[in-house]
Symmetry: C2
């Protein structure tokens, strides 16, 4: 079918016309209609979130190993995209898709993308991005203020001050976190006498000059993998990201942080360790919880470390006053990262990194004769990336069109959906909620009611006895049953993927009530404003129906555990 | 004016409707018309490339220090964008704008951006990007083949093989180069016995384990600043980017490379140096020239270094057979970076990094339970970034719509424009062309004909004599005159920016016929297919007219130099 496309003979006049916006909008609108239809088709079907096509089948569709020689008509390529690409894309905007942090985007975002592409500004340099450089700075100031809330005078002085940068617009949160840790590293090993600083001299000479064996970054076990990636990239070594365990609400255990810090301080001589940064999370990717930012900030200041808050997921909630309490202490951070393609509902992808001190990004300042002269006003002096699109137009316009009030309503809807899902799961009985949801993420698992009761009973019995042997036997039973339920939930998740009418994601946590045992959980991210209670009920019903089906395969194994003797008096097992 | 926008009371029903594509295309087309008009206005004016508004004036337009509270109507925000942003954007698509690597983009790219935003796939993971992951792999294979030209069997085996990656789609060329050097670093210091590799252990332990004082990267003085940035980021230190001088055609001087390598080899004990990578350029950002890739590759293999080719600018020319010779030896590279927003005429921004060995990117392989499981097929296992947009659709579609043939015609037009500009400059007499243009970039300067003749005469006289004193005096004169002409060209460039009807960029080179003296040059990048000979004539006429005006201010200083005595017989000075 795709080979039937009409090949056209290349000719320069035809090509040049492609570079000119059609004079009458007819042509554009002709394609626009076609696109709109394509987009409608895509959104309107309910089922088939991931499309039924298998990955091997897709491999066969996209198997052309060489670039096409001849030009093809735009309309043919559009219909190829419709048949091959759009038809087999993931319906991330579908209200039944509640598994990842991306969801529906407002349709005006498409208009913004049109403007961005038509203007095609390159943010690296004022010669290639004029007003757009100022838009970027304005947006950065807005978020700086939301987080750090300095004086009006501070913002008036710096909002368009080209000698400093209050932050960068990045391609995503990973690069935002990388930028933060890069600044932290430069600040930890600055120029000193003959030593030109880590930037010029590298990690090895920096550690030697300052008499350290290593530099470390402390983050909870919920830390996003980009922190480890950054430590690798920055030459500190992945081993030097030290993960502090979390409490049962998925927040860094502050006592254990202090214990770890004390242990690091005691290291001396050849083991002497520099704490480059402490990273707080607001909220965690897996569970949506927020660290005790105030306490973490205090700890960071005590040891002279950079305090970075990874708020890629939750940061945008600062737009709404009622969430400020949750983020208490974020104003004490040295840097904060936020993603626009998450709670700001922008299309992929854009991150933000904000620095409390307007001078921090000067540590990264760079120049090149041909592109960003030292005394220029070019934004590219401060960024990790080089060429960058005018992506900031999207959140800038969206904050005007939706406003803080509007975002408040969107987050309220997300909160209601989170609460609703929890109620529906509790009401069903065959599920167990496993986190305290703070920012629209709920972890839970399928577990038949009787099995859940049995686990709770064993847990009560364990707490009621002092018989060590009995405790051990009960713990062993709990572990074994959880092992079965883990397998059940993996199987359920795979079956849900095959069913494909709804979608949640899946992860493994060690921070539930069964800690330290790893528990497989289903993970719902409830931010799509088109999702409602009725839809959530349908999603849970589907999971319950398929879950009960699959449980049949596990029942025998479960019953074998029940028959194992537990020392001491034992109640009748259920289920 | 902007304060007159209507604020609307936020309500969830209104907001939810924003997330649904309008059922009838009317609404969309209403905005589409408005947008189209906006875009037309923007492109149709000839003059005012950067808009007359000053930067302080722009600072006053974009001075809102806080996020808007209330929602605003989409149409109001669109007209605000029209008045404040579009009106003051840089007309990078204007055919009189020939100063940077971005130019016009075909209008179908706007359709592609609409599709990308509507689908909103996140390339990090198959659960958020299904067909789009396969599109990305297909595109990567196309470029891998263009560069490395392995067997059809190789591509059939790996084009959709999820266990490896032939390359990554990145946010830009800087991240592409960073990815290459990161892989080079991991390969230079791999796991070995108890040593877990540089990735886990960091730069410091890696150097110690392998007994090196430092790791270095060799690149010519034309190297893009992203190489230095990467060395900083990767913890190697900017000092350890060793710049090899170029010949007068802006190619790395291979003899000096070998001399440098020999000197590095001689370092031992506490100075022992590991050559991590040799970087070749194809073509250079400032001059568009291509290094002797074959010779550089040979040198890299001899010292066991990774050979990276930064082809961000020129790489796409491989689409056209007649350019293959220029890139001879690129097939011997270990990695090659290419930007889609340069010679592929895509909107900003997208880079590509290709690795000859399908196993190289496994050095970066990472995993996280909740997002990219180890045994998954997720593209995010290999990338520096985390969340990534479906940007690859743009070059993928463009290579179909334009085809290799079409790109051939576009490059032919770029070549013709480069040749035309050269002829026009030579014909005028008051300009001096200062590079051998290979890939559509021309460096030149304004210099009154008589002054140019005088410089050439001194140069001839210098070569004709053996009188050391005379040579010195002549060289001094040449230097002094160049000093004046440098100042003239800086002033001219600023005046052209004020005139604002045409645009070229400006840089400083030490590789011209006046080496080692730094020469200020104007830099034209001739890739816009809407630019033609008549337009180039106008651009040169403008520069000539303004240049002659400004020369009057410099004439007296020039004449003072002419009056200085040169030992020996001296001809009458001209001008």
């Amino acid at each position: 079918m795709y080979n039937k496309q009409k090949e056209v003979k290349a000719n320069l006049e035809y090509l040049r016309k492609l570079f000119i916006m059609p004079d009458s909008p007819d042509k554009f609108i002709e394609f626009g209609h076609e696109l709109l239809e394509m987009i409608h088709d895509f959104f309107q079907e309910k089922g088939g979130i991931h499309s039924a096509i298998t990955l091997p089948e897709l491999s066969e569709i996209f198997d052309q190993t060489a670039v096409p020689d001849r030009p093809h008509l735009i309309k043919d390529v559009l219909s190829e995209i419709k048949d091959k690409v759009t038809a087999h894309s993931v319906k991330v905007g579908n209200p039944y898709y509640i598994g990842h942090m991306i969801s529906a985007v407002p349709y005006f975002m498409i208009l913004m993308e049109m403007i961005i592409a038509a203007l095609n500004q390159n943010q690296v340099k004022i010669e290639t991005a004029k007003a757009s450089s100022f838009v970027e700075r304005e947006l950065v100031a807005w978020f700086h203020r939301l987080i750090f809330n300095k004086t009006e005078k501070f913002y008036q002085r710096h909002i368009q001050n080209p000698r400093v940068a209050l932050g960068n617009v990045t391609s995503d949160g990973t690069i935002a976190n990388l930028t933060a840790l890069m600044v932290a590293r430069e600040k930890a090993f600055p120029p000193d006498g003959d030593f030109p600083g880590i930037r010029a001299a590298g990690v090895d000479r920096a550690l030697r000059h300052y008499g350290y064996a290593r530099g470390v970054v402390l983050v909870s076990t919920r830390g996003h993998y980009s922190i480890k990636k950054a430590a690798n990239m920055l030459g500190m070594g992945e081993e030097n990201v030290l993960n502090i365990p979390v409490d049962e609400h998925n927040r860094m255990d502050v006592r254990r942080l202090h214990r770890r810090i004390e242990a690091l301080k005691e290291q001396s001589g050849e083991e002497r360790t520099k704490i480059i940064a402490i990273v707080g999370i607001a909220g965690t990717t897996e569970t949506g919880n927020v660290d005790h930012l105030q306490k973490l900030g205090k700890a960071a200041r005590e040891v002279g470390a950079h305090f970075h808050v990874d708020a890629c997921w939750g940061g945008a909630a600062l737009l709404v006053d009622e969430y400020r309490d949750l983020f208490k202490g974020i104003e004490g951070a040295d840097s904060v990262s936020i993603d626009a393609h998450k709670l700001l509902y922008c299309p992929l992808s854009m991150g933000l990194i904000l620095f409390k001190s307007e001078r921090d990004l000067n540590h990264l300042m760079q120049a090149a004769n041909y592109i960003i002269r030292r005394n220029s006003v070019d934004t590219g002096r401060f960024t990790v990336e080089g060429s960058r699109p005018f992506a900031c137009l999207k959140p800038w316009a969206s904050l005007k069109i939706i406003g803080r009030e509007g975002y408040g309503l969107l987050f309220k809807s997300a909160k209601q959906n989170t609460d609703s899902l929890r109620e529906i799961l509790d009401g069903c009985g065959n599920f167990e909620v496993l986190n305290l949801p703070e920012l629209f993420i709920l972890n839970y698992r399928f577990i038949p009611q009787s099995v859940k009761k049995q686990l709770y009973e064993w847990d009560r019995a364990k707490k009621a006895t002092r018989d060590r042997q009995k405790v051990k036997a009960l713990e062993k039973n709990i572990r074994k049953v959880n092992h079965i339920v883990n397998a059940l939930n993996i199987k359920l998740h795979k079956a849900l993927r095959r069913d494909d009418s709804t979608f949640v994601s899946r992860t493994t946590l060690e921070s539930t009530r069964y800690r330290p045992q790893n528990i497989v959980v289903l993970r719902a991210v409830l931010v799509n404003p088109l999702t409602d209670k009725a839809i959530l009920q349908e999603i849970v019903d589907t999971q319950n129906r398929i879950g009960q089906e699959i449980w049949k395969e596990f029942k025998a194994a479960y019953q074998r555990i029940l028959k194992e003797p537990v020392p001491g008096k034992r109640r009748k097992a259920q289920g």
